[in-house]
């Protein structure tokens, strides 16, 4: 039975009818609480309030009820006959900062389920929804991903308002706008679209909202749902929407003309558009000295190349092109492989899968056990497999270096994409040598070149080449030289000329 017709019903002036309707809709849930009270003894009017236990502040509710029970009796009877009585009640009785009058049962039910308290009074065809939201939530802690050595330690939580406040604390400017949307027919998840008016790429906010409005799904439990439902390249292994748990990263994105999407109940905030190169940028690149930031960024690019290509290059060289390996190195590899009964391709896939297995097991197990699994697993599998002659020592080194390199990529989803791409590259290299490696690599490159993130080419500003945006791609140039925002921003000016510091003239 659908409750939609009941939800669309208007609130009537009969308290009993309204209560019956709400109880039919809500059923017998134990956390759904109904509380009766005498509203006005002189006119014999009853009142009732509904709320969800656990989602509201009991203290707050007690204050409201106390105010109603004491002061409602003092109301002159003629006030209760006026047309704008609810407005009068709002003014005279409710001292809460946030409340609103409603006319539909559905609005009341949504409010109750969202942590508000619904007040219905006999004789009034309107209800009052009072914001009494208060539930247990995690406090602000350091984010689990995107860790930094230098920089703020606060991370987003599961509370959308806490998250937007963390960004608002960083950008104290009225042009920071937060537009509210609700997605999910059952979950009615709150979404906030954040942007800087005047800086955001023209048309981007409308595009983001249009895509979100198109979502027709029963539930949104995490921002990953939204990510998959609004991205430009749904079949791609690459993530075309940025994700972060760091408020400073979101603030930086907004200041560069991007849009952030906050989703309630998750600490992961989405940013659009996103470029491939951003996945190699860490927050502390911008907080450390630019020499250090640039150096570590180059290290991350090297890590990316190692993570993507090292196993496939090794498989290709050892399987097909041994003459390309320097002689001494070739002898070392050959001696290690002497007792290994498998082709290099099988050996590589076995080891890569074992590594992924250990990583996954370490992640899913309870923390103390998980650490033991990853350490013991790597020690035992690595050492024992070499001693048993199942894999060569060189392959263990290759897989270990590749694994470490993949962890050096700051963005977790980008790291996962690269890990996935590694396998087709290994298989193509192991089966067709240089031909397979080159063919598969170019297919990946063409694919990356063909996709977009909210209309922006994914590999920009490298391809297509945008000279003005090169200051923050491979190198992180000093802040005083970074005078303009990225070219997608509507307002290009970031800072005035002459920002380079100088010693005082003596």
């Amino acid at each position: 039975m659908t409750v939609q017709p009941l939800l669309d019903t208007a609130i009537t002036d009969s308290l009993q009818t309204n209560v019956d309707l709400i109880q039919r809709i809500m059923g017998q849930s134990v956390d759904f609480i109904k509380r009766d009270f005498d509203f006005h003894q002189e006119t014999n009017r009853q009142g009732v309030c509904f709320y969800t236990d656990g989602l509201i502040s009991n203290t707050e509710l007690q204050h409201i009820l106390k105010a109603i029970l004491v002061h409602s009796q003092e109301l002159p009877a003629e006030i209760l006959l006026q047309a704008d009585t609810v407005e009068e009640l709002k003014r005279r009785l409710m001292t809460n900062c946030s409340l609103r009058a409603i006319r539909k049962i559905g609005e009341g039910v949504d409010g109750i389920l969202g942590g508000e308290t619904l007040f219905l009074i006999d004789g009034f065809a309107e209800g009052l929804l009072v914001v009494t939201k208060a539930w247990e939530s995690r406090s602000i802690t350091e984010p689990a991903t995107d860790n930094v050595v230098r920089g703020p330690r606060d991370g987003f939580t599961e509370n959308i308002r806490t998250n937007t406040a963390l960004v608002r604390r960083r950008i104290k400017d009225p042009s920071l706008r937060l537009d509210s949307l609700i997605v999910g027919t059952k979950t009615k998840t709150d979404l906030n679209v954040a942007y800087m008016e005047g800086i955001v790429k023209p048309g981007l906010v409308e595009e983001v909202k249009a895509r979100i409005h198109k979502i027709k799904i029963d539930g949104v439990l995490e921002s990953g749902y939204i990510e998959e439902l609004i991205e430009d390249a749904p079949f791609s292994v690459f993530s075309t929407i940025g994700t972060t748990e760091r408020p400073d990263k979101v603030a930086a994105s907004l200041l560069e003309g991007k849009v952030a999407i906050f989703v309630d109940n998750t600490p992961v905030v989405l940013t659009v558009p996103t470029f491939f190169w951003q996945f190699f940028q860490a927050s502390d690149d911008y907080y450390s000295r630019y020499w250090v930031g640039s150096f570590f960024r180059i290290v991350r690019y090297i890590a990316f190349l190692i993570s993507l290509m090292l196993p496939s290059l090794y498989v290709m060289l050892v399987s097909f092109h041994q003459e390309m390996i320097p002689s001494m190195l070739a002898f070392t590899i050959a001696s290690g492989r002497e007792v290994v009964p498998f082709p290099v391709l099988v050996e590589a896939i076995m080891m890569e899968l074992a590594f992924e297995l250990m990583r996954e097991a370490g992640l899913r197990m309870p923390k103390p056990v998980g650490q033991a699994v990853s350490i013991v697993g790597s020690l035992i599998i690595g050492q024992a497999a070499v001693q048993a002659g199942l894999v060569s020592p060189f392959m263990v080194i290759i897989v270990a270096v590749t694994g470490i390199a993949s962890f050096a990529i700051p963005n977790y989803s980008a790291s996962l994409s690269i890990r996935l791409l590694r396998f087709p590259l290994i298989i193509a290299s192991g089966m067709l040598g240089l031909l397979g490696f080159a063919g598969m690599f170019f297919i990946v490159v063409i694919h990356a070149l063909s996709i977009r993130s909210f209309g922006e080419p994914y590999l920009a500003p490298a391809a297509p080449f945008r000279p003005s945006d090169q200051k923050d791609i491979v190198l992180r140039l000093p802040w005083w030289s970074n005078k303009s925002r990225p070219s997608i921003a509507a307002d290009a000016k970031r800072q005035q000329d002459g920002a380079m510091p100088k010693p005082p003239e003596s």
Binding site: L432, F442, I446, L449, A463, P464
Partner: protein, 364 residues
């Protein structure tokens, strides 16, 4: 096809489309004709290419900023357009065969001698189809990666071979005489002819028409300069006598390059960079041939004809590449006789017809 690319993308595409075959297969053929004057022959070919590219761009701009096929249709009727499209389809089929010769012999002869030819053809077609399917904008972006690869490759080969360079190998200059040197440049002409015919199809989709002539000419100039390093190094390091003995002369130069004692062979790294240019040649040949085929059949979307065109080009290419002797006779003897007249003749013919029609039209 409503996509517009920049003049920079056009430049990158032209450089890539010329580069891969010109540095090796072409130089070996030229060396067999004019020995140490191969670098001069290449530079003379480059000058001809600059003129041809400028002419092609001029004809397209004069003809109403449409492709050469559409200009022919407008100037001489629908069937004339289809005829030009058929000639160009034939051109791109031949060009694809020479490109496939380059791609296959680089990889097969030097890295995978036991692999069957069909494997290279299928791999080239698979990557080419994937790129061509995504259209000219993606290929244009890929060409930027290609230009980066070309620069790296040139730097690597110079680093690895400059120590062995002997300027005496380049002497005496013009030993073969001017006429023979100019005549030998027809082999490099076949390389830029692929670029100018690509321009003939692609130019209407390039932004800023006022820059078309200069951008096309400069593209050939840049491509010629990046190619010219190779015959100079091949002559100076290997000597013309050694260069002429090889089908893929550049691979011999790459194989002899070394940096110190530990990195004594790194031709595979160089081939990885070379593959970008070669695969862009393959994609562009497929793309242009499909556009021509779509004009013949009369469909708007070239993608519908990508697969049949790939089968035609792949089949022809395989037949030529499968036999080394046939491949070299085709590339060295027959292909220049077809490619160069087409590359020069079609712009001249269509430009002439357009001018005649313009003169005949009554003044309004």
């Amino acid at each position: 096809m409503n996509v517009r690319i920049t003049n920079g993308m056009l430049l990158a595409l032209v450089m890539n489309v010329i580069y891969a075959k010109a540095i090796g297969i072409t130089q070996g053929i030229i060396a067999r004709e004019v020995a140490s004057d191969m670098w001069l022959s290449t530079l003379i070919g480059m000058l001809q290419g600059i003129a041809a590219a400028w002419l092609t761009a001029r004809v397209i701009r004069m003809g109403g900023q449409a492709s050469m096929i559409d200009i022919a249709s407008k100037a001489a009727g629908k069937w004339a357009g289809k005829l030009i499209a058929a000639v160009l389809l034939l051109f791109f089929t031949g060009a694809f065969a020479t490109v496939l010769v380059t791609f296959t012999y680089h990889l097969m002869d030097y890295f995978l001698p036991e692999a069957p030819v069909i494997l290279f053809v299928v791999a080239a077609l698979a990557v080419g189809l994937y790129g061509a399917y995504h259209g000219v904008e993606v290929m244009g972006r890929m060409a930027f990666v290609g230009v980066f690869s070309i620069l790296i490759l040139n730097i690597l080969v110079m680093m690895g071979s400059i120590a062995e360079f002997d300027v005496k190998n380049l002497l005496p200059v013009m030993d073969s005489g001017l006429a023979r040197t100019v005549w030998a440049s027809r082999h490099f002409d076949t390389d830029w002819s692929l670029a100018t015919m690509m321009i003939a199809i692609l130019l209407p989709h390039v932004k800023k028409p006022q820059r078309w002539g200069r951008a096309s000419a400069v593209s050939i100039l840049f491509a010629g300069l990046t190619v010219a390093i190779w015959p100079i190094l091949e002559t100076g390091v290997l000597s013309a006598e050694a260069t002429r003995e090889y089908i893929v002369a550049c691979m011999q130069l790459a194989r002899s390059a070394h940096i110190g004692l530990f990195l004594h062979r790194y031709e595979m790294i160089m081939v990885a960079f070379f593959a970008t240019s070669s695969l862009i040649q393959i994609m562009m040949s497929l793309f242009c041939a499909s556009v021509c085929a779509s004009k013949i059949v009369g469909v708007n979307d070239y993608r519908l004809l990508l697969l049949p065109t790939a089968l035609l080009l792949g089949g022809t290419g395989y037949w030529i590449v499968a036999d080394h002797l046939r491949a070299m006779i085709f590339t060295a003897d027959y292909w220049p006789l077809f490619a160069v007249p087409v590359a020069i003749g079609i712009p001249l013919l269509i430009g002439g017809i357009s001018m005649l029609r313009r003169n005949k039209e009554p003044a309004v």
